[in-house]
Amino acid sequence: MLRVDTTPSYDAWQGDTALALHAVRDGIMECEEIVDDTPKIKDTTFNETTRWLIAVRDHRDKAAFAKLFDYFAPRLKAMLSRGQFGAANADDVVQDVMLRVWHKAAQFDPHRAEAGAWIYRMARNRQIDVIRRTPPPSPEDMPEQVSDEPDAVQILALEQEGERLRQALAALSPEQRQLLEQSFFDDLAHSKISAINNLPLGTIKSRIRLGLERLRRELKDLR
């Protein structure tokens, strides 16, 4: 039976965070020292998954959607099948999330998110909803993209930061990685630790802020 914990305690969280800071500081510090050079456009295409999602968003492209499904559904299912969430719940959430990908694609902004991050958040929210039997409060949706001229430099810069993040994750010890996966994937009452403060998030945050500001600027121009 799925454990339902509607009242995670803040005190427990504080304890976990303190633990995490001590437990995970070793080993990944060198990843933060990567110099932030100016983004270069190596090729003019984005990640495959981002291109598929843009094709779904802009052209309601069902073939591209099928590719997204074949890429993400097995990964979502693996993420959701961990712990006590259960295979039936996992199937329900995979189906629900992939349909949301189709219907909410207009919300996808590649200046602020990679396709995987955007889809992860939808899956996590649905998972929390099922576990707590109430949807988690979500921030306001950003206005839909109004420009059809994407800023390639900015999108590629965010992807480069994503690449650095993936390198940092790959450099983690198996134990550290497991702790992160527990925090990001598992039944909320059981996740013990967050190792996130030692990952190179600073520049990612700056890129995402640029994306948010770009969107707001465009909307202002439109008025």
Partner: protein
């Protein structure tokens, strides 16, 4: 666009994004993220970690029937998710969702101050507070954590000046007296994990009746 001066700490945003925060605090965080690009970027950056972990994780084969169901359902309006609630007036979308789309039903607390309780459970409670211009919220203390987000107007206390989008984070036993700015009604979204204890205002016997 938004010039927020008082943010939510990274550890609270992390706890929110990972689903570790009680519903009452989660609502305040979600409302702040709706108004603050800096903190929204932190939350979005955490999603990049989640996405990267998910993409690098194992694959588990998906039943071909499930795939066929999804592809066949794309044009079926029955599977279209309900539109997300929109913000209205001072209330960002997550607050409108908690209000179920209706305006607040204010209940008087005395001294012109009003409240509307949005949610409470064992993990904490969250309410909207309506404070007339220039009015002081009486001295109160609380156990644990109190998060107060300004949605309209502004208030000041010993910790500083707080305007729309700003969050005051008060930890254990901070004794404070917020005073609303003159000119505009101050509306706040406040979450606590334990009943507020007022000093010399509402007699403590009455506090259970007011649920504060």
């Amino acid at each position: 666009m938004h010039d927020t001066h008082h943010h939510i700490s990274d550890d609270l945003i992390d706890a929110y994004a990972l689903g570790r925060l009680p519903q009452a605090y989660s609502l305040v965080v979600a409302a702040h993220l709706s108004l603050c690009d800096t903190c929204r970027a932190r939350a979005d950056a955490l999603d990049m970690i989640g996405g990267a972990l998910m993409e690098a994780s194992d694959h588990e084969p998906v039943n071909p029937d499930l795939r066929a169901n999804v592809l066949n359902a794309l044009d079926d309006p029955a599977y279209k998710p309900a539109p997300a609630p929109k913000g209205s007036g001072p209330f960002p979308a997550p607050v409108m969702a908690a209000l179920k789309g209706a305006p607040p039903k204010w209940a008087p607390l005395g001294m012109g101050i009003r409240q509307h309780i949005l949610h409470e459970d064992q993990g904490g409670s969250v309410r909207l507070l309506y404070i007339p211009p220039g009015r002081a919220v009486p001295h109160h203390t609380h156990r644990g954590l109190e998060l107060t987000l300004v949605l309209q107007g502004a208030f000041s206390d010993s910790e500083g000046h707080f305007q729309r989008g700003d969050v005051q984070t008060a930890r254990d036993d901070l004794m404070h007296q917020p005073i609303a700015d003159a000119g505009e009604v101050c509306i706040c979204l406040a979450a606590t994990d334990a009943p507020l204890r007022f000093k010399g205002w509402i007699p403590s016997l009455l506090q259970p009746a007011f649920r504060i």
